[in-house]
Amino acid sequence: MTQENQRLGIVVSGSLGKGVEVRLDSSASVEDMVVGRFVTIEGQKRRFFGMITDVSLGVTDQKLSLTPPDVSDPFIAEVIAGTSTFGTLHVSPSLVISGDVATMLEGPQPVKTIPSHFSVVKLASQRDVELVFGTEDEKRFFIGTPLDMETKVCLNLEEFVKRSNGVFGKSGTGKTFLTRLLLIGMLQKGTAVNLVFDMHSEYGWESRDERGRRVKALKQLFSSQVAVFTLDEESSRRRRVSTDFVVRIGYDEIEPEDIALLRQTLNLTELAVEAVYQLSGRFGKSWLQDTLNLKGTEELPEGLNIHEGTLQNLQRGLATIGRLPFLVSDAPDNAVKRILEYLDRGINVILEFGRYTDITAYILVANLLTRRIHARYREGMERAIGEATAPPRPLVITIEEAHRFLNPEVASQTIFGTIAREMRKYNVTLLVVDQRPSGIDSEVMSQMGTKITCLLDDERDVDSVLTGVPNKSELKSVLSKLESKQQALIFGHAVPVAVVVRTREYGSAQSYKDFIPKEAEKDIEKLWE
């Protein structure tokens, strides 16, 4: 607080493309400067808002670094600091926050120029940060606080759900917590309904964090707005989750496209995938069961020319699927229909996988359901355009281990690739959660609206997350210096400027209370009266 609006130094050089160099005053210690902090630059006509992206040391005379003065003498050290030796900051200005007409009328504007020479640079005040990120309201959700500040950084969720988004980070850096926060945000603000493919059963009901603390999840906080679907009834029962629906998928619901996507995981040959299309064309809906029942190529219906080896390869692969317990020859209820019913009512659906954390099951189910849901949304949207009725509610589908769906080989085939590219046309977007972003197709990555990334240290992962970002090299230095817990870099559509946040607390009683809207809280209180 005491450092608020502290003068740091002056602009000494720079360019719009590369950002500006700031020479630190002798009163500001270079050791207090942290990459990721916000500063304001008081230009002659405009005020600029930017982030520290690098810190370096300079000397006026090279001789000084060759024959360093005796800094053990405090007097000499004090004299030299800030005069002959000084710190420099690299700041990338990203917004103009006041000074011209546009900012007065429409708020902060992207920079199109840089501050003039020797403009004064100060630490951004709470007010400046609030001005840029807005305050919490019906559209904005408080996601965390900037470094060394108490101000709230708010995410514009209305903008957020309009495009596909990504949450990235190494394992154990807080992706799940962040995703939970985002889901809560969307629930709270009602900007979209969610369908979560919950591979590790963490979003619906409580789970334990790394310290072994119980952490509540969505169904417990927003019981009326969340439905938990499960593939594994037993696991859910053991964990005392109140489930709303047990998903069973009939063999007849599996289509050749679903198998094509599983080609790698099932170890199928190209020919085997070709054969699937032929078989389904011939057998119709019951193709899977019929193919499994075939004893050899001699039993193939006439006109189908499938090689013995290919058939064996295919049958082996299909048998893996057939063994999944939630696949039944005759499903009692249509899961897709049920999910859509809930979604239409504005209830968020979390699909728990229980013990089927195997990637085959995950890809199969996620792809199968999503394709159908997407098709229905597409119809709904087209009808809405034609008949001028209300379009379906925006839907956000959360997928984990996204690189399995969106890697360059399958991204063009899977529905997730399509959704990521088509963006909001059909009101369906993705929330991609992944620890290996370099595995995701670069086309998909570049289309993502907002990216939220925790610490990543693999060079390739960092590069792929930052594709299509203008000041890539600067963000790179920020990203690689994130702490491994509770810190994330947010950039893209939903925030006006890239920002490093300390994520909002999640897990304490108070934090739960903050999530629940005030009116609802009153309702609950009334219940106790």
């Binding site: 002798s26 007097f75 004090e78 004299v79 030299i80 005069t83 002959s84």
Partner: protein, 163 residues
């Protein structure tokens, strides 16, 4: 030092002082072999006081015109026979609010060592301040900027003014 020559007052810094005989070329003779103290020399030959003169040289570093303090050279030199006064501490303090005069000293090619002069001057000025350390640091910083191309000179001065 300053002259009081209203409306123009000149400020200067003494850089040299010497006592010589009145007649140029005539050097003083050693005396006092029979005397007990130095005072006795003058007591026994009082004419000495008239035959010797003390001179000091001053480099002008600023002036005050109509109560406005300027840290650069005055429009006119001091008049002959202007009286010269020693500045009181308050005035030293007022004058040393700005270190612009240091540049004049550094660039004035004086017959004495610049480092010695500057450090002596700053040490003296610092006595007018309650917070001597702060003044010395501020002066040091100014010198560090002025002498950024001459590290050895800077080191020499800093070594003489610290403490």
């Amino acid at each position: 030092m300053k002259t009081r020559d209203l409306p123009l007052e000149l400020y200067g810094i003494v850089y040299n002082a010497a006592t010589t005989s009145l007649e140029p070329g005539r050097r003083p003779i050693a005396r006092g072999r029979e005397e007990k103290t130095e005072e006795d020399i003058y007591r026994s030959s009082p004419q000495l006081l008239k035959l010797l003169k003390s001179e000091f040289e001053v480099v002008v570093v600023g002036h005050k015109l109509d109560d406005k303090l300027c840290h650069y050279l005055p429009p006119t030199p001091a008049r002959i026979h202007s009286f010269v006064y020693q500045c009181p501490p308050e005035e030293v303090k007022e004058f040393s609010q700005s270190f612009d005069f240091l540049n004049i000293i550094i660039n004035a090619r004086l017959p004495v060592s610049t480092e010695e002069l500057i450090s002596a001057c700053i040490r003296q000025m610092s006595q007018a301040y309650e917070d001597r350390h702060a003044f010395l640091v501020a002066a040091g910083k100014e010198l560090a900027i002025l002498l950024s191309g001459n590290l050895n000179q800077l080191k020499a001065i800093l070594g003489r003014i610290r403490g």
